[in-house]
């Protein structure tokens, strides 16, 4: 015989709930008496307090193993990546020549980005370094000795410097400047003591055709060794990242052009299958003209 479960009426259910919330006979609130609740709250207070303390302690111990100035491990950063400015949502530089608003935001960003590169600021803060060699600054026994940075003047970017430029980095004329920068990696001697430069090209043949001519600043897309090594945010306060500006002169309008720029340096591999930004950067360029 199967004993049927009695169906509880709605009222009974409510009644049961009421009793669960407050049981006047046993003085239980939610199934526990006051003392029991007090115990349980006290217990969890102590227990979780203890766990927090324990976790904080172990975290503190762990942080002792980490220096504030240089990372403990850099194995993931063997190959620095490249990036472009202006920074856009999908790595695409789209310019509607006639539509000011389409490129104005890029221009604003660039203005802001290039501000620290102003010659006056550079002169004021940074050293003039000897080109063609690394600017090494050993601690010489003084712990955490602050490091000086080399000047990278905005004027080095030529017509892409945007200084007194009515064309707004060429965006208003459909000849935009795109700035290439290489990711900072602490204590990385880029180029392995040989000169290096950035080159750009269309990704595929048709892209190359559509890309047209471009000029680079500094000339030839060179990046000087004196900007390396980087000593980290804490030491190298005024470090100025070297840039390469590329001005595209006659991109075929109304076509999306895939551009890829890569750095040619002895110790930077640019053929990583998985990391598409290792030593290179790919972006889309589209000039819309009516």
């Amino acid at each position: 015989m199967v004993i049927q479960k009695e169906k509880k009426s709605c009222g009974q259910v409510v009644e049961e709930w009421k009793e669960f919330v407050w049981n006047p006979r046993t003085h239980q609130f939610m199934g526990r008496t006051g003392t029991s609740w007090a115990f349980i709250l006290l217990f969890y207070l102590v227990f979780y307090g203890f766990l927090t303390a324990m976790f904080s302690l172990t975290m503190w111990v762990m942080l002792q193993t980490v220096s504030d100035h240089t990372p403990k491990y850099q194995d993931r950063l063997a190959t620095p990546g490249l990036m472009i400015r202006p920074k856009t949502e999908n790595l695409d530089v789209i310019v509607n020549v006639s539509d000011t608003e389409s490129w104005d935001q890029h221009v604003q960003k660039l203005n802001k980005f290039l501000e620290p590169y102003n010659d006056s600021i550079q002169a004021q803060k940074n050293d003039v370094c000897r080109p063609g060699r690394y600017y090494e600054q050993p601690d010489n026994g003084v712990l955490n000795y602050p490091k000086r940075a080399c000047q990278f003047n905005r004027t080095q970017l030529g017509i892409c410097s945007g200084i007194g430029d009515p064309t707004h980095y060429g965006y208003s004329t459909g000849q935009p400047c795109v700035f290439i920068k290489m990711n900072r990696v602490i204590n990385f001697y880029a180029g392995a003591n040989q000169s290096m430069n950035v080159t750009c090209a269309g990704k595929r043949d048709e892209d190359a055709e559509n890309l047209g001519h471009f000029v680079m600043f500094p000339s030839n897309g060179n990046i000087d060794l004196m900007y390396f090594p980087y000593y980290g945010k804490k030491f190298h306060v005024n470090y100025t990242q070297p840039l390469v500006a590329v001005k595209f002169l006659n991109v075929t309008p109304n076509v999306e052009v895939n551009v890829e720029c890569r750095i040619n340096a002895a110790n930077i591999a640019t053929d990583d299958e998985r990391d598409k930004f290792a030593g290179r950067v790919a972006f889309k360029l589209r000039i819309n003209k009516t």
Partner: protein, 1045 residues
Amino acid sequence: MRQKRSEIYSVELSGTKDIVRTDQGDDKEKYRGLKNNCLERKKKNQEEDFQKELQLDDHKLNNRELEKKYGTNIIMGLSSTRAAELLARDGPNSLTPPKQTPEIVKFLKQMVGGFSILLWVGAFLCWIAYGIQYSSDKSASLNNVYLGSVLVLVVILTGVFAYYQEAKSTNIMSSFNKMIPQQALVIRDSEKKTIPAEQLVVGDIVEVKGGDQIPADIRVLSSQGCRVDNSSLTGESEPQPRSSEFTHENPLETKNICFYSTTCLEASTSPIGTVTGMVINTGDRTIIGHIASLASGVGNEKTPIAIEIEHFVHIVAGVAVSIGILFFIIAVSMKYRVLDSLIFLIGIIVANVPEGLLGTVTVTLSLTAKRMAKKNCLVKNLEAVETLGSTSIICSDKTGTLTQNRMTVAHLWFDNQIFVADTSEDHSNQVFDQSSSTWASLSKIITLCNRAEFKPGQENVPIMKKAVIGDASETALLKFSEVLLGDVMEIRKRNRKVVEIPFNSTNKFQLSIHETDDPHDKRFLMVMKGAPERILEKCSTIMINGEEHPLDKSTAKTFHTAYMELGGLGERVLGFCHLYLPADEFPETYSFDIDAMNFPTSNLCFVGLLSMIDPPRSTVPDAVTKCRSAGIKVIMVTGDHPITAKAIAKSVGIISANSETVEDIAHRLNIPVEQVNQRDAKAAIVTGMELKDMSLEQLDEILANYQEIVFARTSPQQKLIIVEGCQRQDAVVAVTGDGVNDSPALKKADIGIAMGIAGSDAAKNAADMVLLDDNFASIVTGVEEGRLIFDNLKKTIAYTLTKNIAELCPFLIYIIAGLPLPIGTITILFIDLGTDIIPSIALAYEKAESDIMNRKPRHKKKDRLVNKPLAVYSYLHIGLMQALGAFLVYFTVYAQEGFLPHTLINLRVEWENDNVNDLEDHYGQEWTRYQREYLEWTGYTAFFVGILVQQIADLIIRKTRRNSIFQQGLFRNKVIWVGIASQIIIGLILSYGLGSVTALNFTMLRAQYWFVAVPHAILIWVYDEVRKLFIRLYPGSWWDKNMYY
């Protein structure tokens, strides 16, 4: 019955891997209820049918009427054409096998049961998420597709596994179903033909020889010394004679009906038993067919463990779904995109569901089933393994289960003295005084006045195991004398039998006349045995110490006292007497004539009494005591006589030595039974007749109030009533049985136990478990295993649930604090289905912490498998500690690579943006997306290793729930260490072996990170030892109540 089983399995399976099934569960519940109702109705009808004892009146008809009714001719039989017509109308003469669930349905059930639904939902969410991504961005990453496929793969794999497990146990039972095709000798077209029994039709005239099975229900037309063994049908253990006379109104009792599937015995008393009869019922319309359908109609209770697992699945699925939805809402209100929130939801579901657990439970159960099979308990239904452990009432058969199922000489009375014979299984220890010359005479009678013989070719078989041709009593006497006197056949040869009168029910004695083995004594010896009072009537002298004394009143009185005493022990008593026939009256050449009785049969010399019983198995009293201390009530249910039942119950301890029944008290105080206070009696003996007149309430009262109950003279249907009564007490009832008539009760019971040797196929089919040695004591070992497995399953589940919090927290933190994802969904699956599997199975090998046979059976509604303390302790204590430990490893990896903990907060969006390839870390370095992703995978691996290391500690602490690990012995369970080793090895392979396979998201982790979580692991161990210490120190305290699971 098959159906029942598959249903149970579906739950178990549902056990084995389901996930999201809360709402679905409701549907199933409804469906189930519906089904039960149907069954109920059907069953009631059937029961009515059965109680009407079938509208059968063929036994009242004479041959002429029968011929007319069935359109047949007793001499000529049916014509072949007529037979073919009938066969077409009624169908073959075989039982319809119970409907079988198609394999594919069984398989599909595995795919949707338990947690599977949750995982299916997860998988579909993955694909939907990809669909949405794809529609907005053609180059969307395929990660979600992979994840969905992996989830489906997990569901399918666990489903296949569960299906395989089920199929394996189904195979065990299918071996019971094998039936040898039966042949029947039938008269058709005036010719005797042998045809397959399946083709028999109503009206066929069949001939059955001794030793054959009755091929259908038949009305006996003529019979020669035929007796049938109806034990499988009525529980009656004595063979019943069959003849063509109508002797009883009740078709079950009348002598002129033989039932399908009972056996026609080869009786030793007549040359060969044959019976000719007319087939009156075939196939499902036979009595057996009715019982079989009754059994399959009995509703199936879910096994306790199935209920527990369902309960557990509901808890986990409830937690998963509610946390999932809660955080979905939180995520949406935190302005996450709905798509992202969906993906979080998947992560939360996957983290919350212990994918491997249900498979583990199945494996654990089947391991125990294997262990039990070694101890002679063959478990057909895996879940029954645990049911036995929670059993609170055992309704046991008497014959064969509690007793040895053979008559054995228990007492002797001669020289005015009762002697006790050894009734143990081998009779080795006969200690009574055998020097008296009365014994010499008695033993001679026992040896000679006996027709039983050993079957030839058993020279090397121990005497007690030899097969014998002859009935139970004679067998007992034969073996008894063979043990005491040596070669009985040789003695018989030396005392050549001249003539004999076999036992028959009118004479109630058996007599034979022999030549003596003394060559100088030419007298004949007449020996006689029979019902004691009949024998005494024929005697005028009695032998005491070898000398004949006249039988006077006082000796007659001592005889009666002894007879009553032995009868009171429930034993079958036989009297023995002899007479040396005077040589002058009966010369050697005298020809004895048994029909003329030309020899004296009175004024004999009474020699002694001998009583026999089917003695209890020697292991049973111990087993009953164990049941007692384990809080299990043992109830004897037997078709036997109350006095015999009581005697056996007393000797095995079902009625303990100092407890009395109402009748005993009345007898002691010499007052009428009605005046006895019912409460004074601990024991009760209820007969079938009393039971018939009882209301259900009265039965309940008896079951509740008496500790020791014996049901005697019960019918099969009453057994079912008793089982139901026990179940109304909320008891988990185990029932033993062997006959076809037991199968409804076996089915009805929470666990039906069939006898492997004596049991009929129907009983074995209906049962959940088969006792291979028919021994009650094996049940007790089964109980022990069942209880152990319940405890160990608790440990397994606690172990498995713990890490779910450690897997879940990352997602919660990820959503709320925006850290890069600490552990990936795939990685979680590697823990749940990889590193954790062997350790959780290893816990099944854990020994009991204390004597589990000294506690009460668990209350099926109160002592849950997964109770609140277990969930709270696993989730909120150990689980949380684990999560913290794993986060520590994660933060360490990130910090040492340059992302200090504070830089990680709210980094999620930038971190995961594929177009941000110059993300700055704490030191001002810039990271491309791939570099970050690789670091993220390293984080996964680190988190994984953190959980792994702490799961080792978790595994060790779960060895015990109350005792210290050091009390339990750290190294006693070697399998645990195999588990730990497997965990570490799998971890190492994943990290260092497959670290280069990007799809798996594992990376080669620096060696030192394996040790970061060790302090937390030690903390877990220490904390748990403290918990157990307080539980032991303050039993019953607040701590005990809240912390003991």
